[in-house]
Amino acid sequence: MPGRVLVGVKRVIDYAVKIRVKPDNSGVVTDGVKHSMNPFCEIAVEEAVKLKEKKLIKEVVAVSCGPQQSQETIRTALAMGADRGIHVEVSGKDYENLGPLQVSKILAALAKKEEAQLIILGKQAIDDDCNQTGQMTAALLDWPQGTFASEVSLEENQIKVVREIDGGLETIRINTPAVLTADLRLNTPRYATLPNIMKAKKKKIANVKPADLGVDLTSRLEVLRVDEPPQREAGMKVETVEDLVGKLKDAGKV
């Protein structure tokens, strides 16, 4: 029976905020913008807490990599029911270059250090949409992975995962320890209400540096440019079919 679950949570720009690109096209405006926990990470935390409530696992540890503010995200996870948190402090240039490869190295190192038997992550972050961290973490640890999970059941020494794939649903059985990534329909995350947040203040958040874990944060990617999506052009109304064909020919489509 898995004892300790690591849940990765990411601090992202809130889903309801209108994103603005910086004037120099180097990135997106983040200063003074509302941030919150990635929605898929919320689903991951909820699943871990549910497993603990069913007494199938013993401890839920919430992990986040980022600057000081990432602690707020860990606090939300603690308010949802995680037992303790680990804040991997990454700031400045390192944080700008932090991507799935670096995070998965950190998570793999932490999983070994904390002797975790299960890692649950959100399937992707709504800011970079990489959908890579779970897969890379499993590869680095040489653990099986159950990605896009819409249903998870713990068995003796294995996990049955129903995955959402293009054609429908795929059911697989994997050994523990394993990495799971949560999809939208896995569960309904609870809201972190004020009383729960107050109770969570007593829970501990450990502070760790990537160097302590022996992780190299150099990025192999360079962001060249960030652009807004093209503005949707106005449509045109035509009177007859001949007009339509004429316009299509003009546009070179026919």
């Binding site: 929605p39 939208l184 309904t188 209400t193």
Partner: protein, 83 residues
């Protein structure tokens, strides 16, 4: 005086205030209406009536949580899943 109930009312108010920050029409909009609703009933003495109002307040808490969840779920579904 309805002393133990007073603590419950204050707790409810703080919970609603916290939840209302994310209200789609704006945290200020919600806070003004919340204050108005609570001050309107300031002088109520009957414990039964107060308990009923607290229950109504807790109902609003659950409604808000459901609203926030649905909003987020629908946004994610629209963005990531082609139907």
């Amino acid at each position: 005086m309805a002393n133990p109930l007073r603590a419950e009312v204050v707790r409810l108010y703080k919970n609603l205030l916290y939840l209302g920050r994310e209200y789609p029409k704006g945290g200020d909009y919600f806070r003004d209406r919340l204050r108005a609703a609570f001050t309107k009933n300031k002088s109520v003495e009957d414990p039964e009536q107060i308990k009923a109002m607290i229950a109504r307040g807790e109902y609003v808490v659950r409604e808000l949580e459901a609203l926030y969840y649905l909003r987020k779920y629908r946004a994610m579904k629209k963005r990531y899943y082609e139907e």
